[in-house]
């Protein structure tokens, strides 16, 4: 049976890489590759499920290999299979199969046919890694892939303003979820003193005994899990991203936001259920959170006048109910609900253009001038207030701006004391001083030394804020991001036990990605005007440079294509769990760091092309 599990991971992997090699013009090869391999996966999943059921549904755990290992640290890849995996596997392979067949015709002649199939297959790979993951580390790899493929599909129409703007918006929310997971890994490490696998979580006694010792850490982990899950499944307060993600071709919206991607948060909750099963307080919280989402999303959904946002909010409301079911421990009910909701919303999205002819015909024959709704029977003032509130999506979209991004931006712009000319000198000296101090760290009195990590972390945070709010020079912003990583490394280094190898892991990928990125930017600057004050859309003329730079940006933000990905986790493992300040600023740095990187990519390469000799869409379209 293990062979099957390997197949389920390897097949999407091979298929994705094979799809990269097929020439752009060869629509047929691209689509055939996609739907045959996904179809094969679906078929094998059906066969496997029969074998598995005959064998009395054993839970399978496969510890694959360690990527990095020391005496007390082991970053390993682990696969796992149980009922939850089975449901998601069949659901995922079936819907992806249907969507790939559908898109074969639907996307015919569309610019970016290849890009579309590449991204779908990339997404599918990430999806499979997540559902088969046996520990948080493995899951996190898939999680990152899912986030990136979402970004790429939302920004599929990269030459228009709104898709790019919304892609960045969704990415920023995903980033919060990502860091939630990093914190989960960090805290878990301290809780278990090892990188725990999901399989071990099934050992109720083990979990219980650890949680008894550290109930607060346990609660913190559960809350972080919830934040990650809520971000991915568009629960409160993150709900407003889901309708805004519907910018790509309809089938991609159907598979991502109608069905698979949006139910991954629920998967995370189901998967970690044994961990928080005995945290009654958390379960009650989860139930209420689900309930609040269900109610709010229902009202918002009721006033939507666009078909896709209506489907999105209905789906969010149902996922709210699913969260309640999970909190109540009704795993089977939740799984059925997930599958039903996924199928229903996928189909509704796919047929959404038909609503015009369908409803117009219906009205033509059975017109009822205005349907009275339950709200009409409420007091008028209340009705009107609730209507406005729902139409404004309960301010969910503006809330993230007013409470998170805008304050950060304000810090960045108000921090004008340091004129940009000197920022390099400043950041350079911080790093330099840090290194000197490190060298003599044994001579620094303990009472100062204990404050140094958080101090450097704050400086690092300010540096990345500056990178994030830079409106002019691309290269400066790009370099500041790299310096932020180094400052973090320095900050962590002041913790007593550090290992230079860890920094090599952490910084190797980042520095190389930074350097190549710089070369790419220099090359582009020779041909074009680039800046960060608006979208430039250079991918129109320089698609190859755009891809290369995207890879660099991924490297710089610690995406699992370089050792830095493991390094991030390593770095965190050095933060003591009483160093909340350090953890906070490091986590915040990582969020903004990722955002600043993707912002540079988006501003330089995406959006309406700055040159107007060809057709360019209106900004509002």
């Amino acid at each position: 049976m293990e062979g099957f599990i390997h197949l389920f991971i390897i097949l999407p992997f091979v298929c994705f890489f094979a799809s990269l090699l097929i020439p752009k013009k060869n629509e047929k090869a691209l689509s055939v590759l996609a739907y045959t391999s996904v179809g094969l996966q679906f078929f094998s999943a059906m066969v496997f499920s029969i074998i598995w059921i005959i064998n009395k549904m054993p839970v399978i755990n496969l510890k694959e290999f360690s990527i990095y290992k020391t005496s007390n640290y082991d970053f390993f890849i682990d696969f796992y299979f149980d009922k939850i995996t089975l449901v998601y596997l069949i659901l995922g392979s079936m819907i992806t199969f249907v969507i790939t067949v559908y898109s074969r015709y639907y996307l015919h002649r569309e610019d970016g046919y290849k890009r579309f199939f590449n991204t779908i297959l990339f997404f599918y790979l990430g999806f499979n890694i997540i559902i088969f993951s046996g520990n948080v580390e493995t899951l996190f790899i898939g999680w990152e892939i899912l986030g990136l493929s979402s970004f790429l599909l939302i920004a599929f129409y990269r030459d228009r303003y709104l898709p790019v703007k919304n892609a960045v918006k969704v990415f920023s929310i995903y980033r919060i979820g990502d860091v939630g997971l990093i914190l989960v890994m960090w805290l878990s490490h301290h809780l278990w003193h090892e990188n725990i696998s999901f399989f071990k979580l099934n050992n109720a006694e083990l979990v219980h005994s650890h949680l008894m010792e550290n109930s607060l850490v346990g609660l913190a982990i559960s809350l972080m899990i919830f934040i990650s899950a809520a971000a991915k499944s568009a629960q409160l307060p993150f709900s407003s991203w889901l309708p805004r993600a519907m910018e790509g071709p309809t089938p991609s919206s159907a598979i991502f936001y109608g069905s698979l991607s949006v139910h991954i948060g629920a998967f995370l909750m189901l998967r970690t259920f044994p961990f928080w099963e005995f945290q009654t307080g958390f379960r009650i919280f989860l139930g209420f959170a689900g309930f609040a989402t269900a109610v709010v999303a229902t009202f918002i959904g009721r006033v939507q006048s666009s078909i896709k946002s209506q489907i999105a909010y209905s789906s969010i409301a149902q996922i709210g109910l699913i969260f309640i079911e999970i909190a109540a421990g009704l795993q089977n009910v939740a799984l059925v609900h997930i599958a039903g909701n996924a199928f229903l919303r996928t189909y509704q999205l796919l047929v959404s253009p038909s609503i015009v002819s369908y409803k117009i015909r219906e009205q033509f024959y059975n017109f009822v001038p205005r349907v009275k709704t339950i709200e009409d029977s409420w007091p008028k003032r209340f009705e009107y207030a609730l209507y406005i509130l729902s139409l404004k999506e309960w301010n969910l979209d503006s809330m993230l701006y007013s409470y998170l991004w805008n304050p950060l931006k304000r810090i960045g712009t108000k921090w004008k004391v340091l004129n940009f000319k000197y920022i390099f000198v400043f950041a350079g000296s911080v790093v330099f001083i840090g290194l000197i101090m490190l060298n003599f760290s044994n001579n620094i009195p303990e009472r100062y030394k204990s404050n140094l990590p958080v101090l450097f972390a704050i400086v690092g945070f300010l540096i990345v804020i500056k990178a994030f709010t830079e409106r002019d020079s691309v290269r400066k912003s790009w370099t500041l991001i790299m310096l932020n990583h180094i400052t973090i490394a320095v900050a962590i280094s002041f913790n007593e036990q550090f290992d230079w190898m860890h920094h090599v892991w952490y910084l190797s990928g980042i520095v190389i990605a930074w350097f190549i990125g710089l070369l790419v930017l220099n090359n582009l600057r020779k041909q074009e005007w680039v800046s960060l004050d608006q979208f430039y859309g250079h991918s129109y003329e320089h698609p190859k440079i755009a891809i290369l730079f995207l890879l660099c940006a991924l490297g710089l933000s610690g995406f699992p294509i370089t050792p830095s990905f493991v390094g991030e986790d390593l770095i965190f493992s050095h933060i003591h769990y009483n160093q909340i300040g350090l953890a906070f600023f490091t986590a915040l740095s990582l969020i903004i760091n990722g955002l600043a990187t993707i912002r540079i990519y988006a501003r330089v390469f995406l959006g309406p092309h700055i040159k107007t000799y060809h057709e360019v869409a209106k900004r509002s379209s």
Binding site: V98, V101, Y102, R104, H108, R109, E110, R160, L162, K165, R244, P251, S253, T298, R302, V303, S305, S306, I307, S309, Q310, I311, Y313, A317, Q318, L321, H337, G340, F343, L344, T346, Q348, L350, V351, S352, P353, S354, S357, Y358, K359, I360, R361, F364, F367, P369, T373, Y384, A385, Y387, I388, S390, L391, K392, T612, Y613, E615, K618, R619, S620, S621
Partner: protein
């Protein structure tokens, strides 16, 4: 217009509406000239202005013309006709080699852009999403479950009432809300707050409204035609603008506090008035030359084809079939004539000269089935015993409810899985699809004849009186030149189109029937034609239709290539037999037609057996995943008004609107006038909408339809925060060659000129060259071009007419446009 110092609201609103997109809600989608506002000027001047003022791309890129030239699709000899005779080499170099900067910074937008430049605030991204959401919710025709709570008092008043709740507001700050509630607030007072100097008011409003032409356009259209909405709403462009201005003030207050300067105070550069004269530069000249040369390369081929093809061998008339003028009927007529040499086909506007409102059984609503500009005074009702509609719970609003949603996701949700797989693997007709045959029940009765005299319903007379019927039939027959030699069966073929998952379905049906299938009109005119009293009157007027002749209505589904016959039970015994023979030929012709169309569908393998090809074509109309059930009017380029003899056996590649007309029947041009009045706006409108959607699919077209999201059943937008998209989606125009319509009329130039001069609106179309006109003198067989108010002799460049004997093998090979051929096997 120059910048005026004073602001007159009514004038400015009128001016704005003139330039905004005039596209009706989706259900009433009708083709029109996208740049209708510029029609008062010569084509090329207008295109230059639209480019410089609004930033529309109005021509292909120079590189594209050069590619066409290299492919041989632009003739060098013809280019030479359009460049100045002195320094020809110099001009050729400009056309072929010089590098041109084709980028554009349009005037419209420059003033309001200063918020960004001088105030560093992005007003659009802060106001648009909320503005769009509110207006779309207000206009929503049935998507939202809880619709706008106040809806009968006008847009602004409705918002005022909502705002009176005292708790939650659309506004973030106090001043804007107070201004909304203050009855003395006028658009002028808001403008002076925001803009400052009065002379910039109009410029500002243009900038503001053209930042989202989709919503402004639909508001303008609905203000003037509120009856386009089934669920009534009252809204005016002024109200809409006032609300947008308030949102802007709110945003600025929220950003700067209440103290900020109006935009004109900080103006750093003086702007040229929006509509001041636009210079014609060399680039524009180069574009004009390329475009003219591109067009005339094709026109010349067609004129040559018409003049040099062989005379037809006359055969006995076995059947007659009257089709719509539509370019999609061009090829089916050719195939029928090939299969049945005794078939005579005719073309005319597809409402068949019967203008009326149609009221389907069980419906309270009436739908107009004649060209949009006409206002009929007749009503035809459908009477039918039982009419069932299929339903689909996926569109049911309750699927979106919380509790019901919980139930169905657990149950019917899995039914979706089956439907999902089914719809992919084996597409079949379903409730979600649009079928042309659903327009009317095949066995229904139609109240075509007036029996209750003067009594009217909503001001409409039910059915036509006998004289009224006779007038219409006479008009139809005379205008197409069919007054003698009647065949035993005269088929009247209306057309419609079936498609699936298609928001623009109304644009697929018959344009002459206001975007509805032509089946009802075909039935009504056939019933009139078969009416003995009508025939008696016609006989008095000199048109003797033998009693053995019968009219038979047909619906041609243009996406499926199927014929549906109605009322076949009336056929006499002899005609029944004849009909069976004819029908077999029709079926062969339909197969061939599907085969011909399939050459453009890359995913249909044209090499298969012809029936399989036809089935593959049919499948497209019910497949959810098929964005191109048919290619509609793609490549429409010609409108030929004359006897079929001048085009029969000429292969025109489905590019021609064919209107039958016999100059001998109409020596004075009485019927010609009606034809010209119709083809200019209808065919010209279709052609220009395709032209502009093709050259600027982003600003004048709707972009790709794949990400479209339906807003309130009235329009489509990208995503949820986008502006409504007008024009045609890229899937409809991608294979279209942007060439203006060439009308070719067979008559004497002096008669045509006199006829043209009668209607100034029609004259303008031709004189300003939005539609080109060539007349072929029937006596001398020589062509004359209409230019600057006169006909001048046209010299052909081509003198060869290629012949082809096996079209099918050509269809299997070629995906692109084909040249004009003479069909040899005749």
């Amino acid at each position: 217009m120059n910048t005026k110092e004073t602001f007159h609201l009514a004038e400015v609103v009128h001016h704005l509406k003139h330039y905004l997109p005039a596209q009706a809600p989706l259900k009433d989608f009708i083709h029109h000239n996208t740049l209708h506002a510029f029609q008062g000027e010569k084509f090329h001047d207008a295109l230059n202005e639209a480019n410089k003022i609004f930033g529309y791309k109005t021509y292909l890129q120079i590189e594209e013309y050069r590619r066409l030239f290299n492919e041989g699709k632009i003739n060098k000899e013809i280019i030479k006709r359009f460049i100045p005779t002195e320094n020809q080499a110099d001009w050729m170099d400009k056309l072929l080699n010089q590098k041109w900067d084709e980028s554009i910074v349009p005037r419209c937008g420059l003033l309001r852009n200063q918020w960004k430049e001088n105030f560093h605030i992005d007003l659009d991204s802060m106001t648009h999403p909320l503005l769009f959401r509110i207006v779309s919710s207000y206009l929503d025709q049935g998507i939202s479950i809880w619709n706008f709570p106040v809806h009968h008092v006008g847009f602004l008043e409705a918002i005022r009432i909502l705002e009176s709740n005292g708790k939650v507001s659309f506004f973030k700050t106090k001043r804007a809300k107070a201004l909304l509630e203050n009855e003395e607030t006028t658009i002028e007072s808001l403008l002076s707050l925001l803009v400052g100097e009065e002379k910039w008011f109009e410029y500002y409003l243009f900038d503001q409204q053209f930042a989202h032409p989709g919503y402004s356009g639909i508001v303008a259209v609905l203000e003037d035609n509120p009856n386009l909405l089934i669920d009534n709403r009252s809204i005016s462009l002024t109200e809409f603008m006032i609300f947008e201005l308030l949102l802007e003030i709110d945003t600025l207050d929220n950003y700067f506090g209440e103290v900020w300067a109006p935009i004109s105070v900080k103006m750093t550069k003086e702007l040229a008035p929006l509509f001041s004269k636009v210079e014609v530069d060399e680039l524009n000249e180069v574009r004009r030359i390329w475009q003219e040369a591109y067009e005339w390369t094709y026109y010349d081929e067609v004129i040559n084809g018409i003049l040099h093809k062989h005379q037809n061998v006359s055969t006995k008339t076995e059947l007659q079939a009257v089709f719509c003028i539509d370019d999609r009927e061009c090829s089916i007529r050719r195939h029928i004539e090939e299969e049945l040499p005794g078939a005579k086909t005719y073309g005319t506007a597809g409402f068949f000269n019967v203008e009326f409102y149609f009221q389907p059984a069980d419906s309270e609503f009436k739908t107009k089935v004649c060209p949009a500009p006409l206002t009929p005074k007749f009503l035809v009702k459908e009477i039918v015993k039982d009419k069932k509609q299929s339903t689909d719970f996926h569109f049911h609003k309750r699927a979106h409810g919380l509790i019901f949603g919980w139930l169905i996701t657990h149950t019917i949700g899995f039914w979706s899985a089956l439907k999902l797989v089914g719809s992919i693997l084996r597409p079949i007709q379903n409730a979600a699809a649009v079928s042309s045959s659903r327009h009317m029940h095949p066995d229904s009765e139609l109240t075509f004849e007036n029996t209750n005299g003067e009594k009217t319903e909503d001001g409409l007379q039910i059915g036509f009186s006998v004289t009224e019927m006779a007038d219409r039939l006479e008009g139809l027959l005379k205008s197409i030149g069919l007054i003698t030699d009647f065949a035993p069966i005269i088929y009247i073929v209306g057309h419609g189109s079936s498609s699936s998952n298609n928001t623009h379905y109304a644009g697929y049906d018959c344009g002459a029937c206001s975007g509805r299938p032509g089946s009802v009109n075909a039935r009504v005119i056939s019933k009139i034609g078969n009416h003995p009293k009508v025939r008696a009157i016609l006989a008095e007027r000199g048109i003797e239709i033998p009693s053995s002749t019968q009219f038979l209505p047909v619906l041609h589904d243009t996406s499926r290539d199927e014929f549906t016959f109605y009322d076949t039970e009336i056929l006499s015994e002899t005609n029944k037999i004849a009909h069976e023979i004819n029908n077999a030929a029709f079926n062969r012709a339909l197969n061939l037609n599907a085969m011909e169309r399939s050459r453009r569908f890359i995913l249909v393998d044209s090499h298969k057996n012809i029936k399989k090809v036809h089935n593959a074509v049919k499948l497209r109309s019910v497949s959810l995943f098929e964005p191109r059930p048919e290619l509609n009017h793609s490549n429409n380029t010609l409108c030929i008004v004359g006897r079929r003899d001048i085009t029969r056996n000429l292969f025109l590649d489905r590019r021609a609107f064919l209107n039958s007309f016999d100059y001998q029947v109409d020596p004075e041009g009485k019927y010609l006038l009606g034809i010209l009045n119709a083809i200019a706006p209808v065919c010209g409108g279709i052609n220009l909408e395709y032209y502009f959607s093709r050259v600027d699919n982003q600003k004048l077209g709707a972009g790709t339809k794949l990400p479209h999201n339906v807003m309130g059943l009235i329009g489509v937008a990208n995503g949820i925060d986008g502006d409504l998209r007008t024009g045609l989606p890229s899937q409809m125009i991608e294979v279209h060659d942007p060439i203006r319509l060439l009308a070719i009329v067979e008559h004497f130039p002096e008669v045509v000129l006199k006829t043209l001069q009668i209607n100034p609106a029609t004259y303008e179309w031709f004189n300003n060259e939005w539609v080109r006109l060539v007349v072929i003198d029937p006596a001398t067989k020589s062509p004359f071009l209409f230019k600057d108010g006169a006909f001048i002799a046209y010299q052909l460049v081509n003198n060869q007419l290629p012949e082809v004997d096996d079209l099918i093998s050509v269809f299997k090979k070629e995906h692109e446009n084909l040249p004009v051929y003479e069909l040899q096997n005749h």
